[in-house]
Amino acid sequence: MTSFVKPFIRRKNEPTNALGLVRADYDGAMSTLCAGCGHDAVTATMARAFFELSIEPHKAVKVSGIGCSSKTTAYFLRDSHGINTVHGRMPSVATGAIAANHELAYIGVSGDGDSLSIGLGQFVHAMRRNVNMLYVLENNGVYGLTKGQFSAAADIGSTAKKGAVNELPPIDPVSLALSVGATFVARGFSGDRDQLLPLIKAGLKHKGFGLIDVISPCVSFNDHKGSTKSYAHTYKYYNPAIHADYVPPSEQIKADYAAGEVMPVKLHDGGEIRLRKLENGYDPRDRAAAIGKLFESGQSQEIITGLLYINENDKDMHEMARMEDRPLNQIPYDELNPGAAKLKELQKGFR
């Protein structure tokens, strides 16, 4: 089996972005996932986000681990570099890549198995470091690629396809992210593109670690009755609580919202995130409030989604490491070589 090549057809009058590219320019190889898999919908939304943000494909970098979800980095942005690493270890590879060149747009794609079991350590530490990337966790409550074992995201009482009941408490990536220092924390649903698209755009523009936990049902192993990660269950308890729009710097003037209705958050690139549909008094810039809100919604089984927390003020890894603006991979060697004379001088202390 070789990878499928997606037919590349350019239609007349197709909308183009600021770079003159069409949406299909942001596609990748043909997906080999099961028909109806939530991950494919997320892939399409990610591609659209890059298209709408007019990011040059070669200025984007895709990183992933191992799993059905992690495979999807091959299915969008064919003209970007991508790296499918090893199971659970994408965060470290992303961290090193971003240390070498912080100027590209980094998107990480992972699964609940990849991030919450084998890769839990790396996932948490990348958030602690506030590595500047958007991390999309496609959460289906199971290991899809190894055929349906429970993942650490499975809820208590959720049943497997063959009937086994999960009794272990789940690890919730969103509360985890809030407690270890991620600076952009959201939850989405593969079935709600309208909400997910602006979240991805905002997450890509946010400076620092952005997590979007996307409920993304596995139709083959976890979409049955009794599963709490099925389409039916998610629709039933879905609460699109906080809607976030990304407004690029160029569209800033068209601010036409009534005070109180919308909460604007300024981003580093000059753009803005506008939060809508906020319940009274909820401020997503307040970490403690976000944790409280999450806890509350958990009590009532409801699946709260949207941008739950944002912090544009914390330093990202690049700043904390005090690196110069020019990426490390572009510093010429003559600036790095201390020279023969200096070596002699340094060794005076060795005599």
Partner: protein
């Protein structure tokens, strides 16, 4: 003894760790070095922070040998818990110096040695007020006592102390006072001690005292590494410490305070490996220092880098295994682990430095080779090289050096390329071209550790898969002649018997061979410095009837590689193995060789 032994003896200090004896020992060694007499320092320390026995050996060797002598001539016994062992270890005719604030008559059970009691604690308690300085100064006082025994140059002691405490002049006086306590006491109570002497020479000109980890850290700076990731582990930590130190000194903009480097203390070795893979994939020169347990953890990633052809530089400062083993004791026990680290068919490039000078050079070699061959490269040092103080030729640098960044296509290069394929062997040298993210739309490709064909596409087709892994094998083999060449020393007379060894065995092997040569036993000697082996290695073995393979591990790992990767016949290769965890000494080598040669003759 009537005649003094001059510039050829070993001093050993037995102490309790955590009492600040390291700086006293460094001082003692530097005094002798500054007197122009070659020295070797070996630190034999416990895996513990405070309270366990620790030893420091200083070999004074006018001939400039670099290994241990296997003898202890002067024992400074500062630790009552190891008195018994320290007493036994002293060679006949030796001197035992101890703190007789609390006299120990049992030391007198040996009549073939001289016991010198100096009331170090009592003198220091009287002279110094602060409790901590009483403990520290006891160590400095024994330096004074030894100075009196060996006739060390007091002016040099003064100069060194002034240099050491340039920032805290008050400490100079304090230390001088302590030196005088020991010095005067010995001169007064043991006049005419004349067994061992240091006489000034001019043999350390152009030399430095340096440990391998410092040298390797400096090598990474000079080689142009901008990124490093690591997880603390003895004995590799000081390599990263050195890199940090020199980056801070040399790579921070004086006005803006901005760094031209990034160092990450990772959450574990898996992450450290992933980070350097990410940084190298993205075009930064980088490395990770670790030790055996770290390599075990990194294995999955090492195979990933091998198969996806991402440069990776790893320093393995070997320590005694298996498992946690003896973390502060030395061995060469990771040769096989590193040669084939990771599952599946994997083969890696290894470099074997023998001393700090080579650690410096090979750090730069490794950075070049990893990018040239787009693969993991291991520098296999060990505790002996990495953490001990060696006398080495002053490190030098050629300012015309240009890093070999390997086959990387720039945006300009890509203009003349029809379509870029990541794993295509266009030049027939088994090495494909790579591109760095962000450079050009034409350069995009997808990196995957899953089956891929020569174009970089996903495959499960056996023939397509084989084409790629066969090229990887050929690429690995082609590195053999590009690595540091083996070093051969021929005997004065033609011989069919030889030694083949590597790394930190060198000092002991050279000395044993000299001694055997003096007795008319002639041996050729090859020291291998890289794997895959150069053709010269196979040829060297072919030239001889028997080749003793000397290495520091139980399982004859180097020998194993020689058997699997050369045509050398099994019967020719005779293992001589040392794996107690202590640095190799020439007596062991000479003894083992003599025994083996005699046995062979009569057999």
């Amino acid at each position: 003894m009537s005649k003094a032994r001059i510039n050829d003896f070993t001093i050993k200090v037995g102490n309790v760790n955590g009492t600040g004896s390291a700086s006293a020992n460094a001082l003692l060694m530097k005094i002798i070095f500054r007197m122009g007499v070659p020295v070797v320092g070996k630190n034999i320390f416990p895996s513990n922070i405070q309270g366990l026995p620790t030893w420091y050996e200083i070999r004074v060797t006018e001939k400039g040998y670099r290994g241990r002598s296997g003898d202890i001539d002067i024992m400074i016994a500062m630790n009552p818990d190891s008195y018994k062992r320290d007493l036994e270890e002293l060679s006949p005719g030796g001197i035992l110096l101890y703190d007789d604030t609390w006299p120990r008559p049992h030391f007198l059970t040996r009549t073939d040695i001289t016991v010198i009691g100096v009331p170090l604690a009592r003198m220091c308690n009287t002279a110094f007020k602060v409790a901590r300085s009483r403990i520290l100064m006891k160590n400095v006082a024994y330096v004074g006592a030894v100075a009196a025994l060996l006739d060390l140059d007091l002016n040099i002691i003064h100069t060194l102390l002034r240099e050491m405490f340039a920032a805290k002049p008050k400490l100079v006086d304090l230390n001088l006072q302590a030196v005088a306590l020991g010095y005067d006491y010995v001169k007064e109570h043991f006049p005419g001690m004349n067994d061992f002497k240091v006489e000034a020479r001019n043999l350390t000109e152009g030399k430095v005292m340096i440990d391998g980890n410092t040298a390797a850290g400096l090598g990474c700076v000079y080689g142009g590494a901008t990124f490093g990731a690591w997880y603390p582990i003895t004995p590799s930590t000081s390599l990263m410490d050195a890199f940090v130190k020199y980056c801070k000194e040399l790579r921070i903009h004086p006005e803006t305070g901005k760094h031209k480097y990034c160092i990450i203390q990772a959450e574990d070795e898996l992450a450290a490996a992933g980070m350097i893979i990410g940084a190298a994939w993205n075009g930064a020169r980088c490395f990770t220092p670790t030790s055996g347990p770290g390599i075990s953890l990194m294995s999955e990633f090492i195979g990933f880098a091998y198969y996806t052809e991402i440069p990776m530089v790893l320093f393995d400062i070997q320590r005694t295994g298996p498992s946690t083993g003896m973390p502060t004791r030395t061995q060469q026990c990771d040769i096989l682990l590193c040669a084939t680290a990771s599952h599946g068919d994997t083969m890696h490039i290894l470099l074997f430095p023998a001393d700090p000078g080579e650690c410096f050079e090979m750090a730069v070699n490794a950075l070049d080779l990893a990018e040239r061959f787009q693969t993991p490269v291991f520098v296999l040092s060990d505790i002996d090289i990495g953490m001990n103080d060696w006398m080495a030729d002053e490190l030098t640098w050629d300012d015309s050096y240009i890093p070999d960044r390997g086959k990387v296509l720039s945006s300009e290069d890509l203009k003349s390329v029809d379509k870029f394929h990541r794993y295509l062997d266009v030049d027939g040298d088994h090495i494909p071209y790579r591109t760095i993210p962000g450079t050009d739309p034409k350069g995009a490709y997808f990196t995957r550790g899953s089956g891929h064909n020569k174009f970089g596409g996903y495959t499960e087709d056996g023939a397509e898969y084989k084409e790629v892994v066969d090229r990887l094998k050929a690429k690995w083999k082609s590195a053999a002649e590009k690595l540091p060449v083996p070093i051969v020393k021929r005997a004065k007379k033609p011989t069919k018997t030889a030694i083949l060894s590597l790394g930190s065995c060198d000092g002991a092997v050279i000395e044993a061979r000299d001694k055997l040569g003096a007795d008319g036993v002639y041996l050729n000697y090859m020291r291998v410095r890289g794997f895959p082996f150069a053709q010269a290695v196979e040829d060297f073995i072919a030239e001889h009837d028997q080749v003793f393979v000397i290495e520091q591990n139980r399982d004859a790992q180097l020998l194993g590689l020689l058997l699997s990767e050369t045509n050398a016949p099994r019967e020719k290769l005779i293992p001589l193995l040392h794996y107690s965890g202590e640095p190799l000494d020439y007596k062991f080598v000479r003894g083992a060789l003599s025994e083996a040669l005699n046995l062979r003759k009569t057999a």
